[in-house]
């Protein structure tokens, strides 16, 4: 089954991340790099995203008219920081992978609708 992992975090997670010393930051990136290397065979396309200050939202009104706004869809409480596609047999395998994610914060697991 295909899933997408959304790597999310709160403002507090972001603050904790920003407070890391350069040495700790290097370590964290190394851990994350190892996670991607270890799971390479099961990962599809994915990316880290620019910060929430870079986000722009297009919101459709009930009459269908699009409104362009600066900022996130979710009102700044939880921020999606990146995503990756994951291809594994079932949810338990996806959960095992997500539990080993070294980046902290929150990982949301969403099954992908399979195209037939």
């Amino acid at each position: 089954m295909k899933y997408v992992f959304l790597f999310c975090g709160t403002a507090a997670d972001q603050a904790a991340f920003d407070a890391l010393s350069p040495e700790e930051l290097k370590q964290r990136y190394a851990q994350v790099g190892r996670w991607f290397a270890e799971n390479h065979a099961r990962l599809g396309p994915g990316n880290q995203l620019q910060g929430p200050e870079s986000a722009t939202t297009v919101r459709f009104q009930s009459d269908g008219k699009p409104i362009v706004k600066d900022g996130l869809f979710l009102e700044g409480k939880e921020i999606v920081g990146g995503y990756t596609e994951v291809d594994v047999a079932n949810l338990d395998e996806a959960l095992a992978m997500a539990k080993s994610w070294p980046g902290r914060g929150t990982v949301e697991i969403r099954p992908v609708i399979q195209q037939r």
């Binding site: 899933y3 047999a89 079932n90 949810l91 338990d92 959960l95 697991i109 099954p111």
Partner: protein
Amino acid sequence: MRSAAVPAEAALVEVFREQAGRITAALMRRFGDFDLAEECTQDAVVAALESWPRDGVPANPGAWLQTVATRRVLNQLERDQRYRRKLARLTVEPQPDEQDDRLRLILICCHPALSREAQVALTLRAVCGFTTAEIARAFVAPEATVAQRLVRAKRKIGLAGIPFRVPSRPELGERLSEVLAVLYLLFNEGHLSTLGAVSSQRNLAEDAQWLVRLLTKLLPDEPEVLGLLALMKLHLARGASRFNLSGEMVLLADQDRGLWDRAQITEAIVLIERAGHLGRPGPYQIEAAIAACHAEAPSFEATDWQQIVVLYDMLMAIAPSPVVRLNRTIAVWKVDGAAAALHELEEIAPVLDGYHLFHAARGEMLTELGRREQARAAQLRALDLTGNPAEQALLRRRLFDQ
């Protein structure tokens, strides 16, 4: 072939309990779809409830249910093309041992990706053969709400790809503690509240105990399963003395220990010892050991409180929580006196300010220390915070006694 007499409904309950999980699991293994297997087994149970009291119970009720359920699955597959497409969705790992199927079924029903409410409802229906109406009655919820909850849970199992498998260690330990939490909740729902009696035939506490006993057979070397079974037995052993004739709650200190079921207590202690030999202590084993200390004591005052403090220290080391600390404080009270206990109690005051039993315990300690005004204020606060009528009555009596 039909037997002449219709057996008591209690016997039917046993048939459903023994068969429902097996049939659901077998259909799931064969057709690879949880929703379909569960739905058709439920149909068979409902059909039996309708026709057995009228026509008599078939000679082999298990085979009857299996046949009806299987026929439903095949009809459904023929009728509904969509189901065929769904079949590929569920990953079923091959398992040679037929017994294990029910373990896989329990694990899928109590998967951590499902809400606790969904876990409870699914377990009762798929493993114990409850009807939706019975679950609704047990939880005083509208039947439509329970039905909706079940539909949503089963949809999630399919869509999210929750597998039908028994994980290996260490994952099994984690999954098992989720299962035990569900079963203990079911037990408490049946044992502690008067709402637990679904009907004269079905009681959640009994079904929960049956499920744990089943788990002790499927996983004989899991000490926490034995611990939970022992804990349930110890609660049930003291059940008769918890309420007096006018339905008022009786505190442990005032219970008639002559009413306690000695045979159950002995069985529980054997289970605790068996679990102990496996050398992996856990919260249920420790809680059972604490309950056993109470069960073995000739009186409240003659209880081995020192041992209970030690057990609470162990529990705090494995599974710390404010409520465990509160309970530990009560044992400390008996060992070191009210002043020492009150001192410890104040440390957890900020976390437990909204918990009625915290204020009730504090009130009693203050009373013992002769601080009447403060004691009264604490007891009023406790009364304010509880919604349970039996506990309210008890607290009111206590306020009047002073």
